[in-house]
Symmetry: C2
Subunit: 436 residues, 2 copies
């Protein structure tokens, strides 16, 4: 029986302590692959905690791919190709929906932003007129590093952060940096804008099928891709989380060739609605293969164009050499305002407020699904994170009729099939329902 020393006086919840212990044991091989874990009740008794505490720990382990649950058999450790266990650390929060469904006007903290902007304009004129380095003002990069440390437990030097006017622009920089004629692996289904932009830049796109625990690694290997673009913490639109096993396989794939990289698109990491956050892929990468990308256009407003990427040190060196002469694309006015917005705690408050708002919207949406017969027997997934969930229907209706029916209830919905490169042969009978 697993026995761990829990610290009941710690600020860290008990379930997190249990989750940490079990995760470490799995990573170190102390709990072997496929080994059965104690039942929730048995472990709860053994550790002197409530069953719900163990359940929370197991849920987190499952959502990160360390543990699987087999119906009527219990919980089992996943088989993991443990590559870099000692560097694994835990991270924070997660989720919002993609661009077109970003927060609404009324969510933006206008009054605070206006005040900070005004203060900057009256107090820091000389700084505002000073040309920043190509990767952005230090104050904002430091604020982002602090934020990532606090909310995503990522240890990132501000020197590796590059600020740019939107993720599309950052993709352009990556393309300049890594080279021409590359093949970009993109998730299928996935967000079509990503393949559109890579195609625009002259890249080829390889569409890698999604499985429930991440992209199909064999398909990736066969695809000839140089760069794999993924959202491991919360895939759009399926909501899938890439399992820890697949994460290591991806890192292993990337380390096989010099010019292979993984772009970790953490587009919705600020809005996980329940449960613990999923650690970032970058945090377990010791081979300098992950480019982490995130944006404030999602969490603040799509009309504020401030995104950032974290480059592996080797790429950062190349960046400075190749592109250091260019100008940062975000105005200093907005960079300094955002830096203060984060440092003064407003960003955290804003995120909490918006997350709460979406939770309420989600709950009211889920309530609707109990009230209308069209939802009878449906399966809901992905409701823990992001601004949408997936609903698979038991219905004789075709996809188009299904969509019309649900839309007529005043619900913002889309067909899941829309996000597939090739229309699936079997009708998916699945809709994406948005909370916005």
């Amino acid at each position: 029986m697993l026995t761990y020393v829990l610290d009941k006086t710690s600020e860290e919840p008990l379930y997190v302590q249990i989750y940490r212990y079990i995760k470490k044991d799995i990573e170190r091989g102390i709990i072997k692959a496929e080994e059965k874990l104690p039942s929730k009740r048995a472990l709860a008794e053994n550790l002197g905690v409530s069953i719900i505490t163990v359940e929370n720990a197991y849920d987190q382990l499952m959502s990160e791919g360390y543990v699987k649950s087999l119906p009527k058999k219990g919980y089992f450790a996943e088989s993991i190709a443990v590559i870099q266990p000692e560097t694994v650390s835990e991270k924070v929060i997660n989720s919002i929906v993609r661009q077109d469904n970003a927060p609404q006007a009324f969510d933006f903290p206008f009054t605070i932003w206006a005040r900070l902007m005004r203060e900057e304009l009256s107090e820091n004129r000389e700084k505002l007129m000073t040309r920043p380095p190509m990767n952005g003002i230090y104050e904002l990069r430091a604020a982002i590093a602090k934020h990532l440390k606090q909310f995503r437990s990522m240890d990132v030097s501000p020197d590796r952060i590059v600020i740019g006017a939107g993720t599309e622009y950052l993709y352009m920089l990556i393309n300049i940096l890594i080279g021409k004629g590359l093949t970009f692996g993109v998730e299928d289904p996935g967000y079509s804008k990503i393949s559109d932009i890579y195609s625009c830049l002259g890249g080829n796109c390889a569409y890698i099928p999604m499985e429930s625990d991440g992209v199909d690694i064999d398909a990736l290997k066969a695809s000839g891709a140089d760069i794999m673009h993924i959202s491991p913490s919360h895939h759009f639109p399926t909501g899938n989380v890439t399992s820890i096993g697949k994460r290591y396989s991806l890192l292993s794939w990337a380390s096989e060739k010099e010019n292979r990289y993984i772009i970790e698109d953490d587009y919705d990491s600020e809005f996980r609605l329940s449960g613990r956050p999923i650690p970032s892929l970058m945090s377990i990468d010791v081979a300098d293969k992950v480019i982490y990308i995130n944006t404030f256009s999602k969490s603040l407003s799509p009309t504020i164009r401030i995104s950032y990427m974290i480059l592996p040190q080797s790429l950062m060196d190349k960046f400075k050499e190749m592109l250091g002469f260019c100008s940062c694309t975000v105005s200093t006015f907005e960079q300094y305002t955002l830096a203060r917005f984060i440092n003064d705690g407003y960003f955290e408050k804003h995120i909490n407020r918006v997350r709460h708002l979406y939770k309420k919207r989600r709950d009211s949406l889920l309530k609707k699904t109990e009230e209308h017969s069209i939802f009878d027997g449906c399966t809901i997934t992905g409701q823990d994170s992001g601004l949408h969930c997936l609903i698979k229907f038991q219905t004789q209706l075709c996809d188009k009729e299904l969509l019309d029916e649900v839309t007529s209830l005043g619900i913002h919905a889309e067909l899941l099939s829309k996000y597939y490169r090739h229309e699936p042969k079997e009708p998916l009978k699945t809709l994406i329902l948005y909370y916005v």
Copy 2:
């Protein structure tokens, strides 16, 4: 003798009226190539105006390349390959120096900007949160079109304007739009950042030598360039203006092949310190071959990243098709603020104020050249426009010693030779002197 009907009650100065008449006659072939023009005195008597009025008209015609002056012989019409004479129209103002020597902190109108920004943030929240089209908000594009009409006599539809976060970003878009593996013709000497960015984007650079009236057309033809990047109204660093004859030759060169274009970099068109403005190349282009680029980063602050380009209609159509799905890289907050800044007349006031400031700085710099012996016998050129002039010295000092000597007088100076791709064989003995 040339005889024109002048309207002394018109708001248009007499010298402008004379300039227009003579220009039109040269374009129409009424005044033949190499034909001698009347002396200033004779024409002044004939038209009943002062000699200084005719002199101003001749100066303007010379700076635009319609007329040349031969020492002790008089004024002669230039030989011009008249391609599209009926579309020639006149334009406005001109000049400031490149990026690294842009206006200083204290020049920026902080108080007005802060007020406009605050008003936007309190009054136009919904608009600010609405995702603009890829080419920017309509209000700013319309304001730019109006400004260009008023100050540069350019007739441009707001629909052909693309707003972007800096000129480097716009070059990236052009590169995506026109194609890969292109050869970019760049001016030699020239601003090295331009060739640096094209090289970064995977383009080849052909260095086309500058002559006193614009780039060497034969060298351009032999270079295999697809795109020619020029600053016809005020070349950096020489200050040369591309003559009207060369302008038509350039347009003729571009029209020979489908995928040939000219990028007209009008980087300093807001700050001509004296004389009439030089018309833009785009204004005489009827073959849809000129991409016009300008920026507010020069005229407002290098830390505000707002630039724009005007695309030929065919490229604009392609732009919408290829890149319409992308997001505009400038935040709506700054776009709306700038639109109001222009529409409410503050931009014009700002430009006038800064122009006046630089004029004073220039005058004080030129005064210094009269006070120190190092300047004895020197030749000053380019002092009418931009934030710098060129000074060719009569000296036995080598370039390095010359630079040290002038710098020690508290003057911000650079070697002209620095801007040549290949170090000139003869020492140039020429410095660029900045007014900032």
